[in-house]
């Protein structure tokens, strides 16, 4: 394909302490002077470490059950949205049906999730966590919530609000309505 050595791209620099307009081209026209590049770079790196450590705790718990992060995601969203369909899950996780099937099958076989044919449409398999699944989901969520809480607790009042707005703004714009509905309504999602 394209020769990568060629300078097909702009290569806007972002050198340490470089002037702001380094990344101005193609950027938002407004509000482009507020944040130094070095601070943004710091955030990029911190986000990597933060996410790594954020997931580490849950990963350790999951390992005891023979599960991985993929199982966690499935369990979590089913827990949050009882009665959701497989298609809904695929939509949220943005993975293929086959990838989902692998972990979902294990969760069902081990008795953490169960499924029932839909009332209106019996092709659908509505997903529910079992009591066992609920316990694990809550154990994981509690741990992660506490992780966040500890991080926010030193950041003063309004920290949670701020974090929520920041994280929300990090989500791809076209996905925000869906995520917003998911996060806010959560258990009301099935009514549709």
């Amino acid at each position: 394909m394209a020769d990568i050595t060629s300078d097909a791209v702009s290569t806007p620099r972002l050198s340490p302490s470089g002037p702001d307009q380094a990344i101005a081209e193609a950027g938002q026209p407004a509000c482009r002077n507020a944040i130094p590049d070095a601070d943004l770079l710091a955030c990029v790196e911190l986000l990597f470490f933060a996410y790594r450590d954020f997931t580490a705790g849950a990963d350790a718990v999951l390992e005891e059950y023979g599960f991985g992060r993929a199982h966690h995601r499935v369990l979590h969203f089913v827990h949050r949205n009882p009665g959701m369909r497989v298609a809904d899950l695929l939509d949220i996780l943005k993975i293929t049906k086959q990838s989902l099937a692998r972990v979902l099958k294990q969760l069902i076989d081990k008795g953490f999730i169960m499924q029932r044919a839909g009332n209106d449409d019996r092709r659908e398999r509505r997903l529910f966590v079992t009591a066992k699944g609920s316990r694990l989901a809550e154990k994981l969520t509690t741990q992660q919530s506490r992780h966040i809480e500890n991080a926010l607790s030193n950041a003063g009042p309004g920290a949670a609000d701020f974090a929520r707005r920041f994280l929300f703004a990090m989500i791809t714009e076209s996905d925000r309505p869906r995520v917003e509905a998911l996060v806010k309504l959560a258990s009301g999602m099935r009514a549709r």
Copy 2:
């Protein structure tokens, strides 16, 4: 066949606006009243979506070069710490030598990274990005910085500072000094 409508099923606790003590048992004795569980839960979920979308842009670029996220991390940190040793990289990434070797070799073979024997200790291989490697690293960093900037720009003044503190606090405590040194030194020790 057990009817799933019976109460073997979920009972999704941690309901929005649920009482605090839902996760209070076995919790921290202090500072456990500030942030509603629903807000913490929201952050947990938002973090998942935010990180997914944050990495998506870079992933797309990397794919053009036949690289993955693992290559990105290596390239990034070598770019930020020219002359770093393999052992340093292993320490930061927390992966095995063999995992690193796989991607590092490809980056070297394709001319994005080069290595030179250390001056003092010639067993060491000091790592450097090439001009080509530098261009790619900056392209990726610029994109991610812009992503963060866009997210922060709507969050008012002090947003970057807040995000940095929040993300830093999310890092495992024992790792913070190392990360702090890494992030600060590389960006030129901004007075802050």
